[in-house]
Amino acid sequence: MSGELVNMGELAEHVSDGTAYHLPEFLGIRLELPTICGFQVTRFMVVEVVVALLMILFFVPLAVKMKSGRPVRGRFWNLLEVFLLYLRNEVIVPSIGKKDADRFTPFLWTVFFFVLFCNLAGLVPWFGASPTGALATTAVLALATFVVLIGSGMRKFGVVGFWVGQVPQMDLPLVLAIFLKPMLFLIEVLGLFIKHVVLAVRLLANMFAGHLVLAVMLGFIAATADKLVLWIGVTFASVLMSVCLNLLELFVAFLQAYIFMFLSSIFIGMAQHQH
């Protein structure tokens, strides 16, 4: 191990997507992911599938247990139920309204837990970084919110009604309205798109930055490996800081999942209750 091993490419493989799993060096194993019918499987794809299976594994039995209408038994199931109830009662219902909330609750729960599990996957050693650290993932999730928002809005107000409703109601003189309302429409529609772009970028930036800082922190150890005395001090400090940052990352994983879902529910709620 020497300083020459640590470069951007090496770091990039640890914080972004890749086609192989890096196991500890002493095992001498490098798991290359296959190409299926010309489609290259990557670590993030594997993580997403595992996350999806875990969610099915957790929530389908929970649904069976809750079907009776009685409170579930067991710490784990209660924990899951607490999450679901909190998100529904404290976030989704206040944002969207009691009447419409239940129609969007399954979608928003799925978004929250998918983002959360993807975020947490980045903290599992050798499992691969978080898929939410890739723009492709966060953009698709933001797009899903956007599609739900537009679809539900147009279903409720009609295609024309939804888009016209983007302009706030104002009692303007006709002359002013002719100039101002198209401009307001343009600003509001642009704002609608920008909000979702920001939704994607916010999650991406937080997850990517966290993993990058962790990787750089640990990269210090490899970079000073050829200077023994310095290496000991750097290793101690790097490990200490990495532990602290991992704890912060754990918090950020929950926080960003919450923020993504919270903003999604607010956007959907705004589409359901126009100006």
Partner: protein, 210 residues
Amino acid sequence: MNRKEFNLKALFHRLWGGAAVFSVSSVVFLTNASPLLAVEGEEGEKALEPLAWQTDLAIWTAVVFVLLLAVLWIFAFGPIVKALDQRERNELDRLAAAEKNNADARELLEQYRQKLADSEEEVRRILDEAKSDARKQADAVVAEAKRSAAEERERALKDIQNASDVALREIAVKSAEMATSLAGKIIREEVDPAKHARLIESAVASVTKQ
């Protein structure tokens, strides 16, 4: 206290020491190794591009997410939302039933309180009646006793009076007899037996009158 302060100081020293080591090592590392981090790999390794777009991953994510959403909607979150709604309805029903039971219980309690109050009133009335009856009986007994005592007294007085009359009559008879015999002795020759008898009766009558 001193020991605690000493420990805190030691902890701060250690933290400062760690931070100093970290800072120095960071500076040394950045001055020596930052070129290695900053320069893209010579053999064509990937550079860090946070905004790099991966169409394959986007399609994969969309497929996985949509399938996951469908599966969870049908088998998990949809039924859970229904179960929660059902639970809410059950709880509201139970709450309504509990409120109704509570109202019924309050009404029942009020009825029992009213009955209790009525019973207390009845008991009080019965006690008053009993006291009144007892007082009446006692008065009757006392009156009867008084009447009986008065009659006894009257009878006793009458008996005494009779006894007194008889005694006086006997005294009078005896006195008259004695006076008559005394007077007879004196005037033996002047009073015959018939006269003697009249004298005795007249003497008795006068004594009785007295």
